[in-house]
Symmetry: C2
Subunit: 491 residues, 2 copies
Amino acid sequence: MYQDATLQEINEALNLAWNAFQVYRKLPLKQRADFMRTIAKELEELGDEVLQKAHEETHLPEARLRNERARTIFQINNYGDACERGDWLEARIDTAIPKRNPPKPDLRKMLVPLGPVVVFGAANFPFAYSTAGGDTACAFAAGCPVIVKAHPGHAGTSEMVATAILKAARICNMPDGIFAHIHGAGNEVGEALVKHPFAKAVGFTGSLLGGKQLFDWGNQRKDPIPVFAEMSSINPVFLFPEKLKHSAVEVAKLYADSITLGVGQFCTNPGLIIGIDNNDLQTFIDSLGDEVKKVPPGEMLHTGIFKNYVERRANALSQDEVETVAASEVEPLFNQGTPTLASATAQAFINNPILHQEVFGPYSIVIRCKGMDEMLEVAKHVEGQLTSTLMATENDVRNHSELVDVVRNICGRFILNGVPTGVEVCLSMQHGGPFPATTDSRFTSVGADGIKRFARPICYQNWPDELLPNELKNKNPLKIWRTVNDELRKD
Amino acid sequence: MYQDATLQEINEALNLAWNAFQVYRKLPLKQRADFMRTIAKELEELGDEVLQKAHEETHLPEARLRNERARTIFQINNYGDACERGDWLEARIDTAIPKRNPPKPDLRKMLVPLGPVVVFGAANFPFAYSTAGGDTACAFAAGCPVIVKAHPGHAGTSEMVATAILKAARICNMPDGIFAHIHGAGNEVGEALVKHPFAKAVGFTGSLLGGKQLFDWGNQRKDPIPVFAEMSSINPVFLFPEKLKHSAVEVAKLYADSITLGVGQFCTNPGLIIGIDNNDLQTFIDSLGDEVKKVPPGEMLHTGIFKNYVERRANALSQDEVETVAASEVEPLFNQGTPTLASATAQAFINNPILHQEVFGPYSIVIRCKGMDEMLEVAKHVEGQLTSTLMATENDVRNHSELVDVVRNICGRFILNGVPTGVEVCLSMQHGGPFPATTDSRFTSVGADGIKRFARPICYQNWPDELLPNELKNKNPLKIWRTVNDELRKD
């Protein structure tokens, strides 16, 4: 339906973005924030029409899409506010000591934008992690132009959102090239974008295969660039004995919802549940199985994801020592994902890498351990994750500190007695984690700290006050927090 | 003289480091800082003997080595203080809103250590960027054990410094494996270290070839790890017309010192000087040439660096349109680097990548531009740098804002009317820059912000106060700066 961009179009977009960068990076923080707020308004202005289009393309329910757009608008405004507040600039000033031998020069540091950022839209969040999503908002806040490659699964929605961004750019007199929207169903467009000399960073949310490919392209450049890819996570949940003894049924109900929410199409879907093989766990498995059976299959985002789910689910269920505990009692139609619960022994999990792979959809596997020692063994075999969850009493936590430490060390977000689905947009959120959850655990893709993915520090040495950027001038005209001679202050 | 470590020894060191990590990462910030201060003390305790050894191995003058050790001690103490102050933790708290629909959970984030860090000692700083240098200090501050691969050019010095660190570790009851010291003259040891599953980050200062190799190894792992390599920089200096009109001779004197300081063996050595081809530039070149002639050749760090200097210098001087302006009048002995000044046209520079390469030693080339437009063209062809310098009046800066912007965008530290040599150790320092200056321009290897290279954020969701780390408890027992509901506070 949409034509893949040609190499010439890509080149034009990047050249324009590079020119826009020279202007945009010098605009005051407030102007960047106002631009972002205008995007948020224009997104609202798209009305129900864009929800309708998104529903047609992704099969997500309208209510969910309405919420997701609201969240996207909140996100843009939140990062815009953070941009203007300026804490993220990490402004530091060390004043000169001319009498020292040798004299100490005046040194002032702040973050500056990297340059044009290429953003790849996510299949599962047509608004919040796509065209005007978190990566785009972070890049604009940092001072970077953005080139979005639309996700082919919702290219029409993406086109409408792009129109809103371009309208906001016109209203705010942004330079030509501040934003570009490109289609590309194959790999060629992505490769050309990531390898273009004027692309200076990449944001991506999607599969391990896709993200790792972009990461490799970014590193294979003559000048490697940072590629932040949020990729693969099975979000382990550890069921501790005391907790399970008291609330096996409640935990099962909670998790039935979390596993099947949105047909399981969340990067924080709990795909791995680890417990001690005893009567309490059996009660949990039985209850969870009963709940899962009751949930009807739901239509998935697109046929690629559906086929992938069918294949990976079948493959996981066919492994030695894996049994199917429960599946939805309703027969699925084409493109529908069937809620499924499996189980396996700890040894099966430890020895079989296939059971570590994400099965993207409403699927989870319960791992039965012989005791806490084996649960620790399992934890040591789990790769990097966006989240880990403990279902545990305070006693459980205190009595098993080694296990708690191991579980914490594999994740970006560490949840106690909750579910991993549901990602708050706030400064304290960490949406990232050790590989393969992301390509760089030192950054987040949710929350205003995500701005820092697209910025780098620059130090001004020996500049007179009047030639310094406002962020670093003596009088602190922007009233931002700065560390002056090792002390944080705002005056 | 020293045996290369065997694969078994490397494996043992990393296994021990991994075990030490489980203990060390949980120690209070104060205990980490005390350990670092004890290292600083033990470094002092090594007395003149280690200076003598370093002099024998590197041929650096004793006074310089004494200063460098003092700087190293200052650095360790400074990062130790920063570790304890805790600003680097980026603690953020968003409190729960139970009444919201859906309820907002309590979320608290802080940086935690990545794991064992492999540090490669630098040839040119036997103390400040080697065994107990900036990378090691940053890693310890972050909460990471360290495995140092000694630089073969000063392996004996490294051995002595390692002894001091191990003694400090014993005094402070640090876990076994908190620090390991490994020798390896060939590539095999480095490769085994970077590819070991328990290595979680790498710090390196050295050549482009070496740093890029480590970066590639780090990225080729099953789980890629961050490799921060500080590599190659020719530190361009732009001579603006009004400035040069008034002070060509003074600027020349200043730069003669900077180019030949320490036989030019600094990563911030000004290897590229760009001016407008007029009488003022001729005066500058003549004066600089006269000064360079007077500086005698100096003994270089080791024969590898010497041979490399001889080859690269000869290669640069033999390029079309490059002329030798001046060389030291004193005949060099074996292993001595000859101070050298060359010059070339802007077109020669633009068209010949060899003139962009670092000639590590007391060498610099002046590029003659036909006018400011051509100077801008040259600037656009300069790759990423640790530093860029403008020698310019305020008028010069104001009149050539496009050029100023381009020059700023290629560097990590942006100097006005000074020399790039001399790197302050303070929070506002940025020692890093776009590739090939480093592998990741978003981090610094000098100043306490360098700690962040080896740490990642983790978010605690829904944890009761008594189970949270002290850094995130409600009462803020450590009195660190934290962003609470978007507001920085310390109470």
